[in-house]
Amino acid sequence: MSKDFDVVANYKSLLLNSPELSMPVAAIQSLVELIKHSNATTMSEFMLSINVASQLLKSSVRNSISLSAGCDLFLRFVTRNSQDVAEFEAWKATLIVRGQSFVEKADACRYKIAELGVPFIKDGSTILIHAHSRVVSLLLQKAAENHKRFKVFVTESSQTHGGIRSAKVLRAAGIPTTIILDAAVGYVIDKVDMVLVGAEGVVENGGLINQIGSYQMAIVAKAANKPFYAVAESYKFVRLFPLNQYDLPTYNADTLSFQELNVDYDSKADDSGSVSSSALSQTALHMKTSEDQASQGSNPLVDYTPPNYITLLFTDLGVLTPSGVSDELIKLYL
């Protein structure tokens, strides 16, 4: 086994060095690196090392949905080709070449999606987007390049503050952008012509796993009869079938749990009152605490949007209805 190669460190440095890289692509890239460094001599040893590495990767980050999509896709690819291996070393070389070409093509995916999505943006329209998504930003930039005139509302998306990042990118591209509070989605929805969100993962039934807040945007959009479009590269398709919010792999017993009300009313710094229970009454007092709580993990980072709220998905395979996703996944994984 390649004990000398730290796949997690490689993955993290990849993400750090190129901010445009998305998590699944980075994961695949570091798995390819692993193969390069692998000195496994037998097939089973090799497969084991890849499996262990992908498990390591998945457990290394808190929100592993899109990462696991990439890992699973790569594993599927490796096992699919492991059936008829004539020469082990030659096969390994092919794997490396293929994996690298995949990583290179991942960027092209985004451009293809942007191309497909631009016709949906009408001149003079107002678009609501959520947090920061590279592929959504790219789509909007392309639309602006095509001389579409439109305005964008972007939710601030507290915790990550991705909305502020989005606003910077879009303003740089000359798109009028306004940052709104996450709580103001209902307020602006009547002025909005369409809602556009990215995705961490697209699940088996065409539903969406995305940064927290997407679900409520989808519900508001549905109530207001506005189209809700998701934009996702096909390598984010993941073989999961969540039944509801609490059926996600990221969910655990701590998520939004009601903790003991052992709030120390005198000290401001170090109590452990939960956000949901005590923060309501003591907002001012415990602002700092609630932020701590959020980063500690009692607040979920992603939510699940069921397919019946999604109008269409823009992917590099084309513009799909939610049920079309299942079609593609079955083709890939069966």
Partner: protein, 632 residues
């Protein structure tokens, strides 16, 4: 290949190879190989591909005709795939078809009702004489004879005042058709009929002449009006068999009854069937006869059980089969099996699962026409075993393991009636140590949920048992609904035990996830938009609560005081009988016992199959990508 692989750039060069040949088991492509197309690997996709890529060895003229017959049977509705062949085979076509078409017209209140009725009856006497099998006739000698004579004399003796009845009778031979009558004549006829009707009503008989005749004749006819006797569930017993055989052979009594008791919206469906060996050909294999009888009596019930029973019976039949001279096993076996299949259809309409399994078997037979007899026999037996193992047993295991991921501690799971897969899943979840509660919802008339309840309670799962009527009340504490399926249709609709739709809709209303467990072999290429176009009508007597048939429930019995107030002595004589006991004699009362209903796809959250968790809109994708041999 599909666009996904292209764009993602993950297209391996040997991708084409992997799809056309199953990795590691390439030798399954050879037809004669003892390794079956369903190789041992549970990865069914590869086996699928291997069967499709196998070249069809059809070469001779006979070989080309064989597959064609498979195709035609496959094109038919999977519910009665063999019906026409059955009718041709037993000479039923000339007798039953005209009546079937004639019946609605007669029932639709033709002005010259008496006339039509008599003509038809004469007709029937003739045809039933032709159509009845000699053995059936001998089994119940006096049955058909007596009922024929009484019913042809029916209209005459039916009318309360003899004069009106005779008039109607005497006019018939000379009566011109309605169109050629003059206005005056027509009016005269109508007046006459009105008078007859009034007379009958005053005599306490049903208003329609035909029904009156039926009421009067019933004690004499071979068919017993006592529902408990005609009920298939009282079988086996020589007496019951005789009664049923008599009921079958006096097709007249049954048809007459069908006329009056069939419900307009469901007239296109087959009437309920009875366990009957009297009309079955003598050379059927006893295993198949046995399975058929058990299915007819609902001793074997449920799509999986029926499919396994059918396949096992066919397996025995193939093992015991003796090739007749001048033919080979693989060429003749289908001709041999056809009457068996038709027999099963006469016992109970074919389940989708059985239809798919039989279609698969026929496909395998048609593919291996050139094999020597013993090789072919071994191959077909192995194919059947593999089908049961791969598509049912293994599939259920995979479904159980996938389903376990969706059951968590603290869940309250609601299920309806009984499905073998759901039962297995719940028991497995309990065995795994998951703490959950189950609410078993059940309904009349079959109370299948009791079986599930018994199994769960024996295992120590905390259970609640309610009837479907309490669904609204219990649904508020449920957080998952798990259902079984008879079939999943191509539009994603779920075809399952009647009552499932109510449960699914009620759960959907409260946004509770509805999980359906269904093996892919139950997928059907049929599309159905409502429960009316295709369904199965059960024995209406199951709805009747009399002493022999109350399933321990007295819900529809009326209170003694009510009964006493209404009809005094007559009712107290039939003490203990339900209010519906005499429904056949009641003029306007019809009972409908539908066995299935249809749940539209939007009410189903997820389908757990052996190929994974899929939305039910993906049924056609599975059929297209994964089960190409089912469409052969």
């Amino acid at each position: 290949m599909d666009p996904k692989k292209k764009t993602v750039g993950f297209v391996p060069d040997h991708d084409a190879d992997t799809t056309t040949s199953p990795g590691g088991s390439n030798n399954t492509n050879t037809v004669n190989s003892p390794v079956s197309a369903f190789s041992n690997t549970p990865d069914l996709s590869s086996t699928t591909n291997s069967t499709t890529s196998t070249p069809n060895p059809a070469g001779s003229a006979a070989a080309s005709s064989q597959p064609r017959s498979i195709n035609t049977s496959g094109a038919r509705s999977s519910y009665e795939p063999m019906k026409s062949s059955y009718e041709e085979q037993w000479g039923l076509t000339p007798t039953s078809r005209p009546h079937k078409t004639a019946s609605p017209r007669d029932g639709s209140g033709f002005p010259a009702k008496e006339q039509g009725g008599l003509n038809k009856k004469e007709n029937k006497v003739k045809t039933s004489g032709l159509g009845i099998q000699p053995n059936a006739g001998s089994a119940s000698t006096d049955g058909p004879q007596s009922s024929n004579s009484t019913s042809s004399a029916g209209p005459a003796s039916a009318g309360g005042p003899p004069s009106s009845g005779n008039k109607g009778g005497s006019q018939k031979p000379s009566a011109p058709s309605q169109k050629s009558m003059t206005k005056a004549e027509r009016r005269e006829l109508q007046e006459k009929q009105k008078a007859e009707k009034a007379a009958r009503v005053s005599a306490g008989l049903p208003a329609s002449g035909k029904k009156a005749a039926q009421v009067l004749n019933q004690p004499n006819s071979g068919f017993s009006p006592n529902p408990s006797k005609s009920l298939a569930t009282s079988f086996p017993g020589a007496e019951a068999e005789k009664a049923i055989a008599a009921a079958e052979s006096t097709g007249q009594a049954r048809r007459r009854e069908k006329l009056t008791k069939e419900i307009g919206l469901f007239a296109h469906l087959d009437p309920p069937k009875f366990a009957n060996t009297a009309l079955a050909p003598k050379d059927l294999h006893p295993a198949v006869v046995h399975a058929g009888l058990q299915m007819a009596q609902f001793k074997i019930c449920g799509a999986n059980a029926r499919c396994v029973a059918t396949l096992n019976a066919f397996r025995k039949a193939i093992q015991d089969y003796q090739t007749p001279p001048n033919t080979t096993l693989s060429r003749h076996i289908q001709t041999y099996l056809n009457p068996h299949i038709s027999y099963l259809v006469t016992c109970r309409p074919m389940a989708v699962s059985m239809g798919n399994a039989i279609r698969y078997l026929k496909y395998e037979i048609g593919k291996n026409l050139e094999l020597p007899d013993e090789d072919a026999r071994a191959l077909f037996v192995e194919k059947i075993d593999n089908f049961i193992r791969d598509r049912i047993t293994m599939a259920d295991q995979v479904i159980t393991s996938l389903g376990l991921q969706k059951i968590q501690d603290g869940d309250v799971i609601l299920t309806y009636a009984r499905s073998s897969v759901v039962q297995g899943l719940l028991l497995a979840a309990h065995a795994k140590g998951i703490k959950f509660k189950v609410i078993v919802v059940d309904s009349r008339p079959r109370f299948e949920g009791k079986q599930l309840l018994r199994a769960l309670a024996a295992a120590g799962v905390p259970c609640t048992y309610v009837l479907l009527t309490a669904i609204g009340h219990v649904m508020r504490e449920v957080n998952k609904v798990i259902l079984g399926a008879h079939s999943l249709l191509s539009n994603g609709a779920l075809y399952s035990r009647a009552g499932t739709a109510v449960v699914a809709m009620s759960a959907h209303e409260r946004k509770i996830p509805v999980i359906v467990c269904c093996e892919t072999y139950k997928f059907s290429e049929r599309v159905q938009l409502d429960s009316f176009v295709q369904n199965e009508i059960g024995n209406p007597d199951e709805l009747v609560n009399d002493q022999n048939n109350n399933f321990g429930h007295s819900s529809t019995r009326c209170h003694p005081s009510v009964r006493g107030a209404n009809s005094g002595d007559a009712a107290s004589a039939a003490a203990g009988a339900g209010v519906l006991t005499g429904w056949r004699e009641s003029r306007d009362l019809k009972l409908l016992n539908l066995l299935y209903d249809l749940t539209p796809s939007e009410f189903v959250t997820v389908v757990i199959t052996e190929v994974g968790l899929i939305p039910c809109t993906s049924v056609p994708v599975i059929l297209r990508e994964f089960l190409p041999m089912m469409q052969q």
